[in-house]
């Protein structure tokens, strides 16, 4: 049934470029400091620097905006407020509610209400502190539970329903309920938000932005300036990290810079300092999810009811789709039986939360794993056994809560392999022994799977464009709609184009993403970058190849179908010609050497009125096993060992794929362990810098970290049968959270399911230990 990569997908497959661990296309420039980020670009003549002034209150009606002190500050040349915006003030991506600068109302603490331009960054930042904003302050609503109670939602509630929950749960042997509060996450891309706007002739403008969505920046800049889109060109070479945090959140800075540039007829740079970046941009949504799940005696799920609450902040931003994705993923890899899933988008007076690797999926999947853990402790079975029993598969157990049939489910096999390679059951025994012998330290072990749906759930976004040029020396320039943020997209694209033309990758240059090369692009998000842009690039290459093949066949009176492109040579039977020579010949014979390419993902649809459909082209799967040791006196812990088996289909570049898996895992581990966002009662973000918000450091990487790729191709017709890898590995880190719960549960001989809301900081771990019912403890616990 399973086939290895189909060598005949395209004529002339060359294994030299695709499927090998080519280095990142910018690797040499990264290590020498030559890779240019926006703040590194040579400054254009007359460059001025912008900064924003921020509100000290979280909510209220604005009475006055006083910018006189800013204006008077030496070096300040211009100040703007909302009133100065010629076009749209609202720069919300999908719905509405995200003003470029606060207008009549303050919506969250530190909301920018004025922007200024000055001769240096230092002056700009100092002057920004001098603005005076008077607000009739109101008490901010910060609590997700309250927002739900008050029906204070940024978007309507959505429901997914299969079967009859009441009926199916009534007869069940076991019913468990629970709730899990899940923290948000700061993106902490190492390169902060930044934009550079350069006015061109008359009303034209060029924008350099660190954005995952150049086309949207183009649109919003045009709307703010009240000009047509064709006057705006956006250029995006690389980001110093994005992770979703530059999907919608990059636009504001570009728009402000653009307006200041146009008003003052000078280039403008706006670089947001780290602390402001952390306070002013949206984060991963905190969630509060509850469930009731009914199972048979074996712990096999019969019915599931779940309430999913996303804390969206003050506006919708992308929250509609994010909470949808949480709902789509609250099954993780398990059949939920009769399911009734309701998703709420709660509004609070905080910064508007946004995309972050996984896009709500992780918060849904944590609910699924919380259910499994609760069932396992109730039945007394090892959680792994419960997980395996509940995986999709078997008659009547293969349809999701949104009515999609699960095909090609490789998780049972994948988990079996990982169980063996990680020696799960042997280690389970030695951990039990360790725990009996050590009174202070306790170990925990957990295996958790990941099943992540690939495609944008907004169907129209599943399209991509490319533009490929072949030059007369045989070198190739490729442009496409995707953006490079470190994920290695351009490297994979380079490999794809090289493979298509049968060239070494040195002949392929992938250039900056530009709205004047490929228009109307989708954001580089939803892990889709390589899937859709790779196909679009392939299609562009195929068009050019077809022309060259036709031409070469005509020259040799042969059949163009028999022409191959391999190792730099184009062949038709005995008629061989170096690629570059053929290109020159074709050029002399007036054959077009440039083409666009287009791709749209097939098969997908979703009907929001019924809550059913096939929103995903396929699923990317994986599983991980984590072992932790925790200190019952302090709640401190370490992750001893992690084993991962992950499914990327046929890997286009194993090194890059493994890099995504490891990086995603560690980022997910940070989200679930040390990365704690805290706001005070006034809506002020307390964890507002890297000194107070702790992402994993080098010592947090597990000492034993085994990562393997699951060696089978994607059954769907994706680019060379590979699978998307950007987001899914983040959720592999759930095994760390579950292993911590497992270690705590060991204090009760695995009878209690401890309540450990992520992020599981040492403090929360200790609290979970202290909260275990006294009569459940089976060993002495020193901290009680």
């Amino acid at each position: 049934m399973r086939k290895l990569i189909d060598n005949n997908t395209t004529p002339g497959f060359s294994t030299k470029s695709v499927g090998t661990s080519k280095k990142h296309e910018s690797a040499d420039r990264h290590v020498t400091g030559k890779a240019r980020y926006i703040d590194d670009m040579p400054e254009p003549a007359g460059l001025m620097h912008a900064a924003v002034a921020m509100s000290d209150t979280a909510r209220g009606i604005i009475r006055t905006k006083d910018v006189s002190a800013i204006k008077a500050f030496p070096g300040v040349v211009d100040v703007i407020t909302a009133e100065d915006v010629p076009g749209h003030l609202d720069i919300a991506p999908v719905f509405e509610g995200d003003p470029m600068l606060a207008h009549q109302q303050i919506l969250f603490h530190r909301q920018p209400w004025c922007a200024l331009l000055s001769t240096s960054t230092n002056i700009a930042r100092k002057a920004a502190g001098l603005g005076k904003l008077e607000v009739d302050a109101e008490k901010p609503d910060l609590d997700i539970h309250q927002a739900h109670q008050k029906q204070n939602f940024v978007r309507p509630t959505h429901q997914m329903k299969q079967g009859d929950f009441e009926k199916s749960s009534a007869s069940a042997a076991i019913t468990v309920s629970g709730e899990v509060k899940i923290g948000g996450q700061e993106h902490m891309y190492l390169e902060g938000q930044v934009a550079l706007a350069i006015p061109e002739e008359e009303d034209r403008i060029s924008i350099y932005t660190s954005s995952q969505h150049p086309s949207e920046v183009q649109k919003l800049v045009a709307e703010v300036l009240n000009i047509k889109l064709h006057k705006v060109t956006v250029d995006m070479r690389r980001m110093g990290g994005g992770f979703g945090g530059k999907e919608t959140q990059a636009a504001q800075w570009a728009c402000i810079a653009a307006l200041l540039a146009v008003r003052n007829r000078c280039p403008v740079k706006l670089r947001v300092p780290r602390m402001q970046d952390m306070m002013l941009t949206g984060k991963r949504h905190p969630f509060q999810n509850s469930f009731t799940v009914a199972t048979d005696e074996q712990g096999v799920i019969q019915a599931t009811q779940a309430n999913i609450n996303g804390l969206c902040g003050h506006s919708a931003d992308l929250s509609e789709a994010i909470v949808d994705r949480a709902m789509f993923h609250c099954d993780n890899a398990y059949y939920l039986g009769a399911a009734d899933i309701v998703g709420y988008r709660c509004r609070t007076d905080t910064v508007s939360h946004t995309a972050f690797r996984g896009f709500g999926g992780p918060q849904g999947m944590v609910l699924a794993e919380a259910m499994i853990e609760a069932i396992a402790r109730k039945t007394g079975e090892d959680p792994l056994t419960i997980r395996q029993r509940n995986l999709y598969g078997g008659a009547g157990r293969d349809t999701t809560q949104y009515g999609m049939k699960i095909e090609h489910n490789n998780l049972p096999d994948l988990i079996q392999r990982l169980t063996e390679s990680s020696e799960y059951w042997q280690r389970r025994e030695s951990i039990k022994q360790f725990n009996q012998q050590n009174t202070v330290l306790k170990k925990g072990l957990s295996l958790t799977p990941v099943k992540f749906g690939i495609s944008f759930t907004a169907k129209h976004l599943n399209q991509a464009g490319a533009l490929v040029h072949v030059y007369t020396d045989g070198s190739v320039q490729v442009n496409h709609g995707g953006t490079e943020m470190g994920q290695g997209l351009h490297t994979k694209i380079q490999q794809i184009a090289a493979n298509e033309f049968g060239l070494d990758i040195e002949h392929i240059e992938v250039t900056a993403t530009r709205t004047d090369k490929v228009p109307n692009t989708s954001p580089t998000a939803a892990s889709s970058g390589t899937d859709i842009n790779g196909k679009a690039v392939q299609n562009a290459c195929l068009t050019i190849k077809q022309r060259l093949a036709d031409f070469w066949a005509e020259q040799n009176q042969g059949n163009s179908d028999a022409v191959t492109f391999k190792d730099g040579v184009v062949s038709l039977d005995k008629a061989q010609i170096p690629f570059a020579d053929l290109v020159q010949l074709a050029y002399m014979n007036r054959v077009s050497l440039s083409s666009t390419g287009f791709y749209k993902t097939p098969k997908i649809h979703y009907d929001r009125t019924t809550g059913t459909g096939r929103p995903f082209f396929y699923f990317a799967n994986g599983a991980s096993v984590s072992e932790v040791t925790l200190d019952t006196l302090t709640g401190e812990y370490r992750v001893d060992r992690v084993d991962i088996l992950h499914d990327v289909g046929t890997s286009l570049n194993p090194a890059i794929d493994i890099g995504q898996i490891e990086g995603g895992f560690i980022q997910g581990m940070g989200w679930l362990t040390t990365e704690e966002l805290l706001w005070d009662d006034n809506g002020r973000l307390l964890s507002n810098n890297p000194a107070t918000y702790k992402i994993p450091a080098i010592g947090d990487t597990p000492r034993e970290f085994n990562v393997e790729l699951y060696p089978y191709p994607n059954e769907e017709d994706s680019i060379y049968h590979s699978k998307a890898v950007g987001e899914p590995p983040l959720m592999l880190a759930m095994s760390v959270w579950c292993a911590l719960k497992d270690a705590i549960s060991s204090l009760t001989d695995y009878k209690e399911d401890p309540k450990l809301d992520p992020p599981a900081t040492p403090e929360k771990v200790l609290k979970a230990i202290q909260a275990l019912p006294a009569d459940s403890l089976t060993v002495e616990v020193l901290s009680r």
Partner: protein, 481 residues
């Protein structure tokens, strides 16, 4: 003037904004944009550069990674500044760069120049002589100040192993003696307007007298944040790095005398030689670049209730020497901290040195730090216990705590109650009861008051367990101690 080598180019600066950081100077004045700003607060390492200085034996160079974003220009005087742009040799990558490429150590690449420079410092450090095998501990130590949000670090660890395990001579080895000569040829400088480099305590006193609003700068790892994070303007800065009394490190049979401007990296061997128990706390204080710059004196003078060294000094009964250029006086460290960030320093006075008593035989010392992240994090609670037991009876107990009050504090109630008791479980429990109510800590971003209280009690219990742990059961999750 301030004089230094930028790679091999002598630079003499006679006029510069005194608040300018090395990173700003590199990026804005020199247009060397390889070093990045990720945070501007010393937390991420994207700005890491290396300073080479003449070693103690006067014949070679020591290379130290520092955070250029929180370093003022005065720190460069007399040194060689190396950035990521300087490592290549005729467009041939340096071994640390090549290893990062080979091991796929960069994804978005923004952290990479910083990592490369930390790796380079390790490379040079290990080039000096015979080495043990490079292991995870050494690597974590060397790269503790660099954050990467993309890779998960594994490829970076592998790259460091590849490059730094057996470092071969590199292009800097060839020019080392020339650089030593060039550094020696640099003039003796006084600094620039607003950024002074006094050479003696008399000069220091005179400057303080002349500029009463001046701030002293040692490593600037606290002070610079006022500029880069709070956008303050510091009109006058006086660097203590050339004042001899503040830069000496001596041992007599009674005391370690640590000049206030001695960095953690400089004092580490001496202090740990006497008190190896402090290894964990010292290596978890900030990151390597922070310890390369930061000083014990700065930690004390900063008087933060969450500084890590004051609790140690309290528990070790250290004394401080304060000086105003004419008179010096000595003060037990516990009398130094008056109130939140308020110290006993009089106007015109500075901290000269810290005197730590030599170790008493049969003492049992532990210094514990509780933080969300093990590496490079600020303590939620720091607890230090220094106990002497004679014939099973406690003859002396000294304690020091951080994060539980407005100032670093001892717990006198505990010390008195325990002294004279048999060191057994009952005594431990008695101590628990006292510590449970000894302090009224606050809720903040690092921990709740309750957790802090719990930690006081539980760390005391850990201390007892460790003192009883004769069969060496594993009691800590920490892997590197």
């Amino acid at each position: 003037m301030i004089s230094f080598l930028l790679n091999n180019e002598p630079i003499h600066i006679s006029n510069i904004d005194n608040n300018c950081t090395v990173l700003e100077w590199l990026r804005e004045d020199k247009k060397l944009s390889g070093s990045k700003e990720g945070c501007g607060s010393g937390d991420c390492g994207a700005c890491t550069v290396v300073l080479a200085e003449i070693n103690k034996s006067d014949d070679g160079l020591n290379y130290k990674a520092i955070n250029s974003c929180i370093t003022f220009m005065s720190a460069l005087d007399g040194k060689q500044l190396l950035t990521v742009e300087h490592l290549e040799e005729q467009s041939q990558l340096h071994p640390v760069q090549q290893a990062m490429v080979d091991k796929h150590g960069s994804q978005c690449g923004f952290c990479t120049p910083g990592f490369v420079m930390s790796m380079f410092a390790l490379y040079k450090d290990r080039s000096k002589g015979s080495n043990d095998d490079l292991n995870r501990d050494n690597i974590e130590h060397a790269l503790s100040g660099n954050l990467c949000r993309c890779t998960g670090y594994r490829p970076i660890i592998d790259a460091t192993l590849q490059a730094c395990d057996q470092p071969a001579p590199d292009k800097f080895s060839k020019t080392e003696s020339d650089v030593v000569q060039s550094l020696k040829a640099l003039p003796d400088n006084q600094g620039v307007d607003g950024l002074h480099l006094p050479k003696s305590r008399t000069e220091l006193a005179a400057l303080i007298n002349k500029y009463p609003d001046a701030r002293l700068v040692a490593g600037s790892t606290d002070l610079a944040l006022e500029v880069t994070q709070m956008y303050k303007i510091l009109p006058q800065l006086i660097s203590t790095r050339y004042v001899p009394e503040l830069n000496s490190l001596t041992i007599d049979n009674k005391h370690l005398v640590i000049g206030a401007a001695v960095t953690y990296s400089q004092l580490q061997d001496t202090l740990l030689n006497e008190y190896p128990e402090l290894n964990e706390l010292l290596t978890r204080l900030g990151s390597l670049p922070i310890r390369n710059q930061g000083t014990l004196g700065g930690n004390v003078a900063n008087a933060s209730p969450i500084g890590d060294m004051p609790p140690v000094l309290l528990a070790l009964d250290a004394t401080l020497t304060l000086d105003d250029g004419e008179q010096s006086r000595s003060l037990p460290v516990q009398d130094f901290f008056l109130d939140y960030k308020k110290t006993a320093l009089r106007s015109g006075e500075w901290l000269r040195d810290i005197r730590i008593p030599a170790k008493v035989n049969a003492s049992f010392l532990s210094a514990y730090k509780i933080s969300k992240r093990i590496e490079d994090d600020i303590s939620a609670v720091c607890a230090v216990f220094n106990l002497q037991v004679e014939n099973g009876v406690v003859s002396n107990l000294r304690t020091g705590f951080g994060g539980v009050a407005a100032i670093p504090s001892r717990c006198a109630a505990l010390e008195t109650a325990i002294t004279g008791e048999t060191w057994n479980r009952e005594t431990m429990l008695k101590g628990k009861a006292i510590l449970a109510n000894a302090f009224n800590p606050i809720d903040d971003v690092r921990a709740t008051a309750q957790y802090r209280k719990d930690m006081l009690v539980n760390l005391w219990q850990r201390f007892w367990l460790e003192s009883q742990n004769h069969n060496h059961t594993e009691l800590r999750v920490l892997q590197h101690a």
